[in-house]
Amino acid sequence: MVTQYGIKFAVHIITNHFGNLVAKVCECLLRRGPLTFEQLVRFTELTKEQVKNSLLVLIQHNCVQAFILEQEGREGLKVNTQYLVLFDNILHRLRFPKFLEIVSQDLDEECVELLEGLLRDGRLTLKQMVDRASQRRENAVALDVVQGSLRKLLMIQYVERCPAPEPVLSPPVEQDTKKRGAKSKRAEKPETIEHRIFEAAVPAEGIRFSLTANSELINNSDISPMRVGENVAKEDSTPFRANFEEFIRRLRHKVLIEKVRTTHDDDAAAVLRAILDGTRNAEKKVKMEKSVPLTLDAIFTELQKTENGRAMTMERVRSSLVLLGCDLGKYNDSYTIELKKIIDSARDEEVESIVLKRYGRDAYRMFRLLSRTDGFLETDKIAESTFVEKRDTPKILYKLWKDDYLHMEKLVLNGARQSKFLLWKVNKPILLEHVLDEMHHAALNLSLRLAYEQEKDGELLTVPKDKIVGQLQQRYKRLRNAWLLLESSLMKLDDALMLFHDF
């Protein structure tokens, strides 16, 4: 789901980081979808060299993925290379400080430095990592030190091997649709091209997070020394990059745990943390709707790893599981938590808070009522349930409808006398997309205002500190406060963007 302002914001980020030319290529891909090199040259009206360099920058920073598409034409199989822009990875560029913060909490300073390099340069080979580490110090850093840090990052899956540069996508096999019933059609979600490319490009789990993927071959004495040499050379040139997926998973877990803490209590939060930690490696994707099943014993064992968890009794764990929506069955049953419900509730809270601030307390109550009701409610019914004057209710509902926060339908009944009813509902999928677009718009605005503030009072930064006195000092203070507020607000808003888009 990429909204119009999402595209504008992504283009703004790329313009800030890599300049106008790269941004132009990026915008073209964002608006038109995957394109070939020739198409890009034609649409952007840039030279071949400019497009090539822009693509190289975008690929280096993991914002574009090339792939080979096999298409069946009249003259047989046609093969061409196309470029797909990775919208999510562009927005992740905002989140680099958050990713580094996670690593600094979990691992040592060397690992943070290594990841910093990967985030700055997009992708690095082991040799480049060693060179980079050595540049910062007087003495050269030993290969095994860097290898050690990289191994730790790979183990915890914060870093991965880069995907294949040009995976091949075969034309999709057409299935017999006649036999499919309506039910199966509904259940199957169409596979996006992005998903297919990801499947084809990402190495198998064992190799993706391994430092020496061919170590088994190297250790195998049957293989000739020449082959071993080839493999070592190949290993040296393998690029690594930050695994954004794992960082987003960690941030999602954090949001889930904190949401449970505010809704329920610390115990429930500790139990959810134990479940998520215990099943972390079993999660197949970020947006898990339900947690992976875990037995009570396993949850308890996981809890005992933390100080707070050790204080919990089995009774408290069971009580928290019920609070989290689990049915307590037999002792050895497995438990799963509806994670999507928790995320939905956090999203609702964010939207409701906008409604409260923008439209007032009565509108807030009405919106919450409609948001919790499946289907339509009639104006008078809404007035009665929310204790709002019946004559004021339509005006408030109309305002919400006008700004796309509500969906309305007119019902005309032809009885003895014609009567007209207005029915209202919250159309969640459409509303969430609308709010996300507004959020992207707001993030773009914050970023533009920040740039404007820097531009307006930029000369202040060149003045030596001892000369900043009197009125100048006041201006300097204002500028600093404005920056702090704008930057912290952008980071907070980015949390909400992740909640709506990535979680």
């Binding site: 009580s319 906008i354 923008r358 009665e384 004559r391 507004e438 707001a442 404005a482």
Partner: protein, 296 residues
């Protein structure tokens, strides 16, 4: 017909009911606050009896629905009516508890204005019809046959009085319920109903349906959470599976909803966000809301 404190015959309050209401409201809050600070927010229902004396809640509101109507002494046939009066009466009576607006009456009967006016006045004197306030539009003259009680569509329902939502009363009931739930930690509709009855908290009797309505409004206010009892821990007093209510804020009965990331910046509350563009007349560079926000 519900009557407000302003018109209740047994009201002990002064003529200025609204100011009295707000004073009482403060007294309720003050009493509850002093209790929670003195007792550390204890949980027994009996210990909150200090909240109960009628003088703490002298707000009087008559429960209209329980009043007995005085049926008209004369049935229409035994009353001598002019033709116009008879036609009008039939139209009004035919609308039963919904009544009818005078303008619609004219349209239906095709009678001239002055005839209708005169006939309505006469029917009122003969106590065959009565004028009622329509909550949707108080300016509309709405009539109903005397033998009917105006429907919810006309009066607005139990929480309306003379065509107005009795907001003061609703707020007081909400406040009291919130404090009960905070003190009891986990409360049920039956528990609250029992408490209200036992302590004669209000001069009107609240039904469990009305209590539920107020609790649902508190849920919509995000002041309380509706949940099913787990039967464990603090829910031990409520059988597992029963619907119960808990205060959202753990530190006090009242809490403010969390302000989200979007709502804390100017764009989140901007009424003009749809007209705002990077290079337009309304833009983040020229935005007056930003100017105000960043004015340190």
């Amino acid at each position: 017909m519900p009557l407000s404190s302003k018109s209740h015959p047994i009201s002990t309050s002064t003529s200025d009911a609204s100011s009295a209401t707000s004073k009482k409201n403060h007294r309720v809050a003050a009493a509850a606050e002093s209790y929670t600070s003195d007792n550390g927010g204890g949980s027994t229902a009996s210990s909150i009896s200090f909240l109960t004396p009628c003088q703490v809640f002298p707000l009087v509101r008559m429960q209209g629905s329980s009043l007995k109507r005085k049926r008209p002494d004369n049935v229409p046939s035994s009353v001598s009516l002019t033709d116009a009066e008879r036609v009008l009466y039939n139209v009004i009576q035919g609308k039963r508890d919904l009544g009818i607006w005078s303008k619609e009456m004219k349209e239906e009967t095709n009678l001239p204005d002055n005839v209708v006016r005169k006939a309505l006045a006469s029917l009122q004197v003969k106590k065959l019809i009565k004028e009622v306030v329509n909550c949707q539009n108080k300016a509309k003259k709405h009539y109903i046959a005397s033998e009917f009680k105006p429907s919810k569509e006309i009066t607005g329902g139990d929480w309306y009085s003379e065509g107005n939502l009795d907001k003061d009363f609703i707020e007081i009931v909400k406040d009291v319920f919130l404090k009960i739930i905070f003190i009891q930690k986990v409360a049920t509709v039956d528990g609250i109903l029992e408490w209200v009855k036992k302590n004669h908290a209000f001069h009107v009797e609240l039904t469990s349906h009305q209590i539920e309505e107020i609790l649902q409004a508190l849920v919509l206010d995000d002041q309380i959470i509706e949940m099913e009892s787990t039967g464990f821990g603090e829910f031990a007093s409520v059988p597992a599976g029963r619907v119960c209510y808990r205060c959202k804020n753990k530190r006090g009965p009242k809490g403010e909803p969390k302000i989200g990331a979007m709502a804390s910046i100017p764009c989140g509350v901007c009424p003009r966000i749809s007209s705002c563009t990077p290079d337009g007349i309304i833009s983040p560079r020229t935005c007056v809301y930003y100017q105000k926000w960043l004015d340190f």
